[in-house]
Symmetry: C2
Subunit: 607 residues, 2 copies
């Protein structure tokens, strides 16, 4: 298994140099505490935890998996110790309010923390990660008592949380939810039903788990408008707010999965468990989805993490493994063969991984700045706009970065040749672990419908046009992220980006027009449109990163000149070898729905 | 796990209607026996074996895997029984000479057998599959005694064979092979060394295994010109030719792999085992690679098999699973939601699988016709030309069909949403099993170098030009496969194919020219060129299949009209939604080597 080494230089390049986060922190209330020294100290400490504690458990988690013993899930060796260190460090509440035990630091700083943890050990990261979902839900929709009882425990990490949405008959289509909630005399509810695919649904890291459960009141309307949200703890809190009596929340079974085996995926049976309504009745879906953007960006992060980790493993191997000679002449004449990094196709694979890892990082940190405004209630207009902007970027980040992350993980395995297929090296584990990211939190197809069907069609594309305008302003030399002093070097990239940005607008208009005539045009174009959009969004960041690197070089950054040159070279690779994928997506999404719809359901196969 | 159902209608369409194999069989010596009745009976029986015996063991093999017990590999439950049925049916020697116990039927018919077996249970199919490699080697390079002793046992299946090439330090770069062969007094050799990744290197299906081993004589020249080939049986034959004393061939360990877990992958230690030189000294690599084309086409078949099996699973699920409503109006108003096959993006995924499975089938059967001429010594010119033609098609079939097969397997999993990630459904197993096919028998990168570096550059592209000319003749209405009577319906596809075929020639010339100036241009363009070529080759077959379907419809094939219409619709899908991928590959392969080569090895990453 590749040992995770935090790519600190690149993280700081994006965080400090490109996005100038310190300037941004002066505009948000939580930014005050996040001084440069504080940020550096936090990143150092989190890197240490990730590299020294979590990374060594990554392969252990895969090998041992979780076990169900007497109705209780046992996590792999070392997971609990690592969790104890994590909560002792106060990491869980880093970006949560001080009044509930958190540190009140910006959400965007928490994203860097998540990145390190996820790259070092995604399976382990699922436990605190799912808890974030529960914390956000209680914070935003819980009443004061619920916050006092549950949020504090969750923020300090004494308890964890889970999100119980999916049932056997429905995942995407939550209108089909059947779990029942019947009013008890004391004002609580009796929750009965079965939930599946519940990540962190049970484990031995803490002695209590707070489930956030979607269920239906007896008189609720059918479909999505009749779903309510409940807090259902595994153990009820006792009089002093600590873990009390068992609440009939049972693990039905543990799923056997392709990957993320260290993360428990449970079938949960609520057998008349006591639940507490959170948020208004029948508004459960709206409440559940409030923080969906940030959760989905967290999943996009896994794509980026997979690209990074697999890249680290493949790069080390490519420098080490000796095979064949370079076609353009021996490169290591003293060795029995050349290291495979000399071969152009191996470099193509490595650069693809690198371009996706670093490009994805920039996209995610940028989105994280937007997310910082979400919890700033002082400026509602700014908040609403940030929410819209994030709503547009979220499906792209989630689906595009997980698809390209999976591609990157597969390329890393490919660099290893046959050895990539052997478990010992850990490269195939990254492929298996990453595969889930295109499925959960809404599949790629669902993200694509969200982007094209909702964010472009229904919302009239306001956020899309705003983003596209930012790109066009950048192309015209007006950007908060670069000075424009090195614009002379950027001609080719800027002209390509300008052209594609125009085409993007044309395509969006054209698809809206098509959809007005025939609704099936939406789903016929959606995934291609999403991927096409992803390549353009990432091109914007690669262009800016190259320009920033030129600017830093011009300032004479002697000690870092190799880093900046490599940035520019990777941007050139991206524009020459990755961005042309837009050509295919353009052609296919414009090809109409007939080629998909004309074949009869019964004519797909013949015996 | 999807239960394999032989796609007999489609197999016969390609075999009988498109390629008119019976006509072809009149031109080869082994064709005489393969009458229509005989062929039908064989396909029926093999379908039964594959569906009823092998398919039910596919998931068992994955779950149990192989075990190493007291130095002996134990295969999963049921594998040995299935193997006994297989040899009792005489399946192993179907396409091998009657004089060594075979049935002397055409090699191309054996390909349909392999297809059914591989799709039903690839892991199980590895045991007889690897044995084929050993049989071919002994048949072509063994002396009469070696054939008498080993080939007969292998042909009847009493013993199996393995191919021992790879060592820890080398896979692709076999010039690094270190295994030693020292002459014994009796003319045999003492073989000492370690081989890794040996499929079917040990198992309990038979009581003896014939290893074909690459090793080095004491005075051998360095590199690839100093490698010889040896027969090294696990047990030496006794005086009557049966399994005799143990020959110091030991299993060092069993690899833990991502997939094909029912197939044993062994580290083999030859501890002074007795070996017998086969073929001329120091010519081992040439001998080993004689039948490489057919072995690699067998791997391409796995890609096709993965697409087919995953398609079968995904199609059934897509008709069954109810989720959301069609955007263009309810399609199943009586149900709680529509079956997901109504959604355009689900259809896109299914049609992609279908297009790759059926298109790949046509490519493979076509190549199998060429392979039939290889064992026809009566016409040496025809034989040499078939070998060249196959040499051109092989890297495309191997790499393109495994890459698209892997894509198809992933799409099948994607159709299942989160359920695709759960082992029980068997969809993720197909992904894991298939992943090996892009690695073994030469990675995609190696196939691409073979295609562009050898078949186009070194061989001056004669076979490429011959194939491309066949495509252009077809476009002009001169083809042995269609009558041309329905040409009127084919305008769009023919014009697209004509154009791309011309571009293909231009690209090949251009890359040859680039490579003359700079050898790194080869590896920089090779994988894109291979995939680009694959899409064009498959387009040729899809166009022909559509035209054949039009012709059959015009003849009034009433009972099959749905089948033919679906063929045409799938061809339209392929041209509209898959073939535009050539646009991206064109752009990237023409982008030159600088964007890959300019970055210093040490500048790929910074701490």
């Amino acid at each position: 298994m590749p040992e995770y080494k935090t790519p600190m230089r690149d993280m700081k390049f994006v965080f400090n140099e490109l996005l100038q986060t310190q300037k941004h922190y002066q505009t948000i209330p939580t930014g005050e505490e996040a001084t440069p020294d504080m940020v550096d100290a936090i990143l150092e400490e989190c890197a240490k935890l990730s590299e020294e504690v979590l990374s060594p458990l990554n392969q252990v988690g895969d090998k041992e998996g979780c076990k169900l013993v007497d109705g209780q899930v046992i996590t792999p060796t070392g997971f609990k110790d690592a969790y104890n260190q994590y909560i002792a460090g106060g990491w869980q509440g880093m970006s949560h309010p001080v009044e509930y035990g958190g540190q009140g630091l910006p959400l965007s700083l928490g994203v860097l923390k998540s990145e390190m943890i996820s790259t070092a050990n995604w399976s382990w990261g699922m436990y605190p990660g799912l808890s974030m979902g529960a914390m956000n839900t209680v914070y935003l929709h819980g009443n004061e008592e619920q916050k006092r009882i549950y949020l504090t425990k969750l923020t300090e990490g004494t308890w964890t949380g889970s999100m119980c949405l999916t049932e056997p008959q429905c995942g995407t289509d939550l209108g089909q939810v059947k779990t029942k909630a019947e009013l008890n005399e004391d004002g609580s509810y009796k929750i009965t039903g079965t939930k599946i695919f519940i990540s962190a649904g049970d484990h031995d890291l803490t002695d209590n788990i707070v489930h956030i459960v979607l269920a239906r009141l007896p008189d609720a309307p059918k479909g999505t408008r009749g779903i309510s949200l409940f807090i259902v703890p595994k153990h009820l809190p006792d009089a002093s707010g600590n873990t009390g009596e068992f609440n009939n929340v049972n693990v039905g079974s543990l799923e056997e999965k392709m990957g993320i085996k260290g993360s428990s995926t449970c079938v949960m049976n609520f057998d008349g468990a006591k639940g507490f309504l959170i948020g208004p009745p029948n508004k459960g879906l709206e409440c559940m989805f409030t923080f969906m953007n940030t959760a989905r960006i967290g999943t996009g992060l896994q794509g980026c993490a997979a690209a990074e980790l697999s890249f680290q493993g493949a790069l080390a191997y490519a420098k080490d493994r000796l095979s064949m000679r370079s076609l353009s002449g021996k490169k290591a004449p003293d060795k029995v063969a050349d290291p495979i990094i000399v071969h152009p196709d191996v470099r193509r694979m490595l650069l693809t991984q690198k371009a996706f890892a670093e490009g994805g990082r920039a996209m995610i940190y940028y989105a994280a700045h937007k997310a910082d405004f979400l919890i700033d209630d002082s400026n509602e207009e700014k908040q609403a706009r940030a929410d819209d902007d994030l709503g547009f970027l979220t499906p792209i980040i989630k689906a595009f970065l997980t698809e390209t992350g999976y591609e990157s993980a597969n390329l890393g395995m490919q660099v290893f040749g046959g050895h990539g297929y052997i478990k010992e090296w850990g490269m195939e584990q990254i492929v298996r672990d990453t595969r889930i990211s295109m499925l959960y939190e809404g599949t790629t197809g669902i993200q694509a419908l969200d982007l094209l069907g909702r964010k472009i069609l229904l919302d009239k594309g306001a956020a899309f046009r705003r983003f596209s305008k930012e790109v066009s302003q950048y192309c015209k030399g007006k950007s908060p992220y670069v000075t424009g002093k090195s614009r002379g070097k950027m001609k080719d990239m800027i002209s390509e980006l300008t052209w594609l940005n125009r085409q993007w607008n044309f395509v969006a208009l054209r698809l809206v027009f098509n959809a007005m005539r025939n609704k099936d045009e939406v789903g016929s174009a959606s995934v291609d449109f999403l991927m096409y959009s992803g390549y353009i969004v990432m091109a914007y960041f690669w262009a800016m990163m190259a320009e920033k690197a030129y600017e830093q070089l011009a300032k004479g950054a002697e000690e870092d000149k190799d880093f900046y040159r490599a940035k520019i070279q990777t941007a050139e690779f991206y524009f020459a070898r990755i961005l042309p994928r837009t050509k295919t997506h353009y052609a296919t999404m414009m090809s109409g729905s007939k080629n998909l719809m004309q074949i009869e359901d019964e004519h797909f196969a013949f015996a």
